[in-house]
Structures are given as structure tokens and as C-alpha cells.
């Protein structure tokens, strides 16, 4: 029995974790959106004397780095990069994983075997190493970084999608679709996949967080897009002066931690919302 009840949004905002997570992510999104407006000039341009400590000059609230670039501007622009990479990589891996998982689960037999062995292959290689290798070979740019992350992250969604599809395949409405003469591909992608998505989407928060961290790590190693400001790159830059000016590495580091925390909390809140809904019906 389903009634008007609480909408998913209302239930999401019931838990304090979800609210905290949502706030953090909202701040992040705001930073990313506002960055070009507040700091219209190139964030990589010199803004003041190098290694200015934070909270000294109001024009440079978080100080400047080794080359005199505005740390706050870099932070905000870094947010853009992290957000773009995180979302794009998650979207790509979810899309690839969902399609592969659905094909494998629905077709069964040889197709299933082949696709699952391919999944195994990609899954056994540590994601970061794969990304590292890919970027090293193809060259560092934002698109390549996104592809590199998706290259290993798609396996999780693929397995979850396949498991869901194996269960959905046996349902009456799939048999019903066959009886009315629907083409198998149409059944797979119109009837089965949309219903297999919810648990796959539940992985998205983990993938976004992992993607942001992987991108930071790649940038830290100097394999990120050299034309963009990234938090990882900022941390790398701050390494040289870690003893004297630790804030250069700490500030982007804290930003990373808060971002991942925010994603985690929001993800938990979303799971709470759907879990309660399933329980009631």
C-alpha cells in the first residue's frame, strides 16, 4: 500500500548526516560555480608576493603559494576540476558498467562468460595503477584522467547491475514482454535496465569520492592536466615548503577530506531514504 506519505526528498533531509553532507556538497558546488566570477583572472597568474601566509592580507585571504599565486583562487578553481572529474568519471563508469552488466545478465551463456572474464581482468588490476599507466601512455589532460578513472571504476557497477538483472530476468513482467513479442534488446534496455539501476546508482557516491581522490593522486604525481589547477597539484607544490609553510598543502588537503566526507554523508542519507521507502511497501 502506497500513499501520499513523504517524498524522497523529505525523507532524505530527515537525517542529520544527510543534511551535513548536502551542505558540504552545496558549498563545493557553489565554489565551483562561483570560481570564474570571483576570480576572473587566471588562477595561475601571479597575484602577490610569494609565500604570503593566510589571514594577513584581505585581498589574499589564504595567502599565496611559492610562485605568488592566490591560494583561495586556486582552491576555488580546484573545486571545479575535482567536481568535473568526479562527476564525469562516475557518470562514465556507471554508464559503461550498467550496459555491460545488463548485457551479461540478460544474455547469459557465452556472452555472460566473456563479459564477466573481461570484468575480472579489469577488476584485478589495482585501479590507481591502471589509471597511472593509462595517463602515462596517453598523456595528461582532463579527459584522459576521466577515462583513466572510469577504466577501472566501471567493474563495480557492472557486477551490481548483473546481479540485479539476474533477479529481474525471472520476473513476470519480463516474461510478459517476451510474450507480446518484444525484441530482446528492447526488453533488456527498456524493461530491465531502468529497474536494475537503483542499487547501481547507490555506488555512485563511492565512485565520485574515489574518482576525486584518484585525480588528486595523479595530479600530485604530476600526471594531472598541467593547464588546470587541481588540489592534488597544490598539495604537490606545497611539499617543497612543507616545514615552513604547511598551509599550502594542508588547505587543499582539508578541502579533499571535507569533499569526500560530504559525498559519503550525502550518500548515506540517500540510502536511508530509499531503504525506508522499500521497507514501508
Amino acid at each position: 500500500m502506497r500513499g501520499p506519505g513523504m517524498s524522497r526528498m523529505a525523507r532524505f533531509f530527515r537525517s542529520p548526516e544527510a543534511i551535513a553532507g548536502a551542505l558540504i556538497l552545496a558549498a563545493l558546488a557553489l565554489m565551483a560555480l562561483v570560481a570564474p566570477l570571483l576570480f576572473s583572472s587566471d588562477p595561475l597568474a601571479i597575484a602577490g608576493p610569494p609565500l604570503t601566509p593566510p589571514f594577513q592580507d584581505w585581498a589574499l585571504p589564504l595567502g599565496t603559494d611559492r610562485l605568488g599565486r592566490d591560494v583561495l583562487a586556486e582552491l576555488f578553481h580546484g573545486a571545479r576540476t575535482s567536481l568535473v572529474v568526479g562527476l564525469a568519471a562516475a557518470a562514465a563508469s556507471l554508464a559503461i558498467g550498467a550496459v555491460v552488466g545488463t548485457l551479461a545478465g540478460f544474455a547469459g551463456g557465452l556472452t555472460d562468460e566473456v563479459l564477466m572474464r573481461v570484468t575480472d581482468a579489469f577488476q584485478t588490476v589495482p585501479g590507481f595503477l591502471l589509471a597511472l599507466a593509462f595517463v602515462s601512455v596517453v598523456g595528461p589532460s582532463l579527459g584522459v584522467v576521466v577515462a583513466a578513472i572510469a577504466l577501472s571504476a566501471w567493474t563495480g557497477p557492472a557486477r551490481v547491475a548483473r546481479a540485479e538483472v539476474l533477479s529481474i530476468r525471472e520476473r513476470d513482467y519480463v516474461a510478459g514482454a517476451r510474450v507480446i513479442g518484444m525484441h530482446p534488446l528492447e526488453i533488456a534496455f527498456r524493461e530491465v535496465l531502468p529497474n536494475a539501476l537503483p542499487p547501481v546508482l547507490a555506488l555512485s557516491s563511492v565512485i565520485v569520492a574515489a574518482a576525486i581522490l584518484t585525480e588528486a593522486a595523479l595530479s600530485f604525481l604530476g600526471l594531472g592536466d598541467p593547464n588546470r589547477v587541481t588540489w592534488g597539484g597544490m598539495i604537490a607544490e606545497g611539499r617543497a615548503v612543507l616545514r615552513s609553510q604547511p598551509f599550502l598543502s594542508i588547505v587543499p588537503g582539508v578541502a579533499l577530506v571535507l569533499t569526500v566526507l560530504g559525498i559519503y554523508l550525502a550518500g548515506e542519507g540517500a540510502v536511508e531514504g530509499t531503504a525506508v521507502r522499500r521497507g514501508l511497501s
Binding site: M1, R2, G3, L280
Partner: protein, 277 residues
């Protein structure tokens, strides 16, 4: 079986109204109650059938009596147990058998463990005695090879056998009241009849009161002493089984009886007139 009219009822329900949170069809802004202003007495040792279609409130009544309503449900009115000083101990004094036996049994525990656990929890028996009692109960519910069944897992049993196990678990603690909520609806006709016979025998042997919830009035006719017919959350007719079946007072009861297609009903199609085989 004569009605124990003068004796104190086992359960006395007055003005029971149950409303689910976020329930369907808001009425004047408030959700419509699933059960409304219900008065009902259940006599000790009787077999009462509660008959109704979907939305009649029959399951809600069963859950309310067993104390199994969700925490968010609003309950008005009272359910009194004159024979109990501090109210019935749920799980011990009331046994509940659900419609879907597969969903009622834990797939990763053996049959023996699940039935024994009831005896252990509510009768304070040690594991050895609890298992012995479980074997005994499985024999009483006529499960083939009751000793071997102790080590079996639910998926190894048929639907009817699983339901027998659920009944064994429900009576393991020796309850005063056994509630069967559509306990036969998921079973085929032959197994259904067997389960009904089993319920009749067990309640007789143990002197248990039986509350039998069903949508099938014919099934109730063969089992119950009294029948209560519910519709849209209210009891429309309560009376001795024979009287409700043979001479119903309420139009709805009559409609339910007429809608039943029994073996003696008039056929709706003409007989085949000499078609191939």
C-alpha cells in the same frame, strides 16, 4: 460445539480503530482508518473465522491482537485480555502464522533451529530439550521424517511442508491463541485442505483458541464455529458459522456467498457437444 457464552472471553475488543501512517485515501485531510470502531469478543477455545476482501481490515485486526502493528500506526479503543493479569506475552501466549511460509522462515537456519528457538526463548528450555520438543512438534504437524527434518533447510521443503513448520513454530511455546493470517492462501487446494484439518486437530488437542483470517468464506465454513464478515474496516456480520452461511443477515455477506463458485454452481459455458476427444 456449544457457544461458551457465560464464560469470560479470551479477548475483548471495544471500539478498536487502527490508522496507518501515510495510509491511503486521505479523508478530510486525515488518512482513512484500516479498522474502524470494531467490537469483538473471542471466546476461549473457539474457532473464529474473520472473512473479508482486500481492504476489509481483517489482517489489521489480526496484527492488532498480536501486537504486531508497526510503531507508526495509531490505535484507538482497547483490546482486553480478561484471563491475563499483565496482558499476553507476545510470542508465547499468541502464535502467529503468516501467509507466505517462505518469507516466514530464515533461509540460512535449519528447521530444527528455528522451531527449537521458539521453545528456548519462551519456555526457557536448554538446547537439548528444545530440540526434543521441536522433533515432537514436527511429528505433531505430520511432517514426514520429523527427526531428519530437524537438520533440513527451508528451501528443501515444499510450500505445504514449510507452512507445517511455521505452524509448529507458532505453537511451540504452547500459546492460548493461534492466529492464522491467510495461512492457506498461497497453497493449492489439496494442501490447503490438509492444513485446515491440521489446524482443526491441533486446536482441539491443545484447547487453543483459533483466529482464522481468510478471504475464502467456503474454507471458513468447514473450520469455524463463528464467522465474522468484515468490509471496509468494519464488521458487518458476526454469528455462528451455520447461520452466517445458510441464513446471512447482511446483504454483503449474501453477495460474498453468491460470488463463491463452488462445485455445485451453475456452469457459465455450455458443455462441449462431442468435440474431438
Amino acid at each position: 460445539m456449544s457457544t461458551p457464552a457465560a464464560r469470560m472471553p479470551l479477548v475483548s475488543i471495544r471500539g478498536l480503530t487502527v490508522t496507518y501512517e501515510g495510509g491511503e485515501a486521505a479523508h478530510k485531510g486525515r488518512p482513512l482508518p484500516a479498522l474502524m470502531e470494531t467490537d469483538l469478543d473471542i471466546a476461549a477455545g473457539e474457532r473464529l473465522a474473520v472473512i473479508g476482501e482486500s481492504g476489509s481490515g481483517k489482517s489489521t485486526l489480526a496484527l492488532a491482537i498480536a501486537g504486531l502493528l508497526p510503531a507508526s500506526a495509531t490505535i484507538e479503543g482497547k483490546i482486553e485480555w480478561p484471563g491475563f493479569q499483565r496482558g499476553p506475552a507476545h510470542g508465547r501466549d499468541i502464535g502467529f502464522v503468516f501467509q507466505d511460509p517462505a518469507a516466514s522462515l530464515d533461509p540460512v537456519l535449519t528447521i530444527g533451529e528455528q522451531v527449537a528457538e521458539v521453545a528456548r526463548t519462551h519456555l526457557g528450555l536448554g538446547w537439548k530439550e528444545a530440540y526434543a520438543r521441536a522433533a515432537d512438534l514436527l511429528g505433531r504437524v505430520r511432517l514426514p521424517d520429523s527427526q531428519g527434518a530437524l537438520a533440513a533447510y527451508p528451501h528443501q521443503l515444499s510450500g505445504g511442508q514449510k507452512q507445517r513448520v511455521c505452524i509448529a513454530a507458532a505453537i511451540a511455546a504452547g500459546p492460548k491463541l493461534l492466529i492464522a493470517d491467510e495461512a492457506t492462501s498461497a497453497l493449492d487446494t489439496i494442501v490447503q485442505a490438509e492444513i485446515v484439518t491440521l489446524l482443526r486437530r491441533l486446536t482441539q488437542e491443545d484447547g487453543m483458541t483459533l483466529l482464522f483470517i481468510s478471504h475464502d468464506i467456503a474454507l471458513a465454513a468447514g473450520l469455524a464455529d463463528r464467522i465474522a464478515v468484515f468490509r471496509h474496516g468494519r464488521a458487518v456480520e458476526i454469528g455462528p458459522a451455520a447461520q452466517v452461511i445458510e441464513g446471512p443477515r447482511h446483504a454483503y455477506t449474501r453477495a460474498l456467498l453468491d460470488a463463491h463458485i463452488g462445485l455445485d454452481a451453475a456452469p457459465l459455458v455450455a458443455s462441449t457437444a462431442g468435440t474431438a476427444r
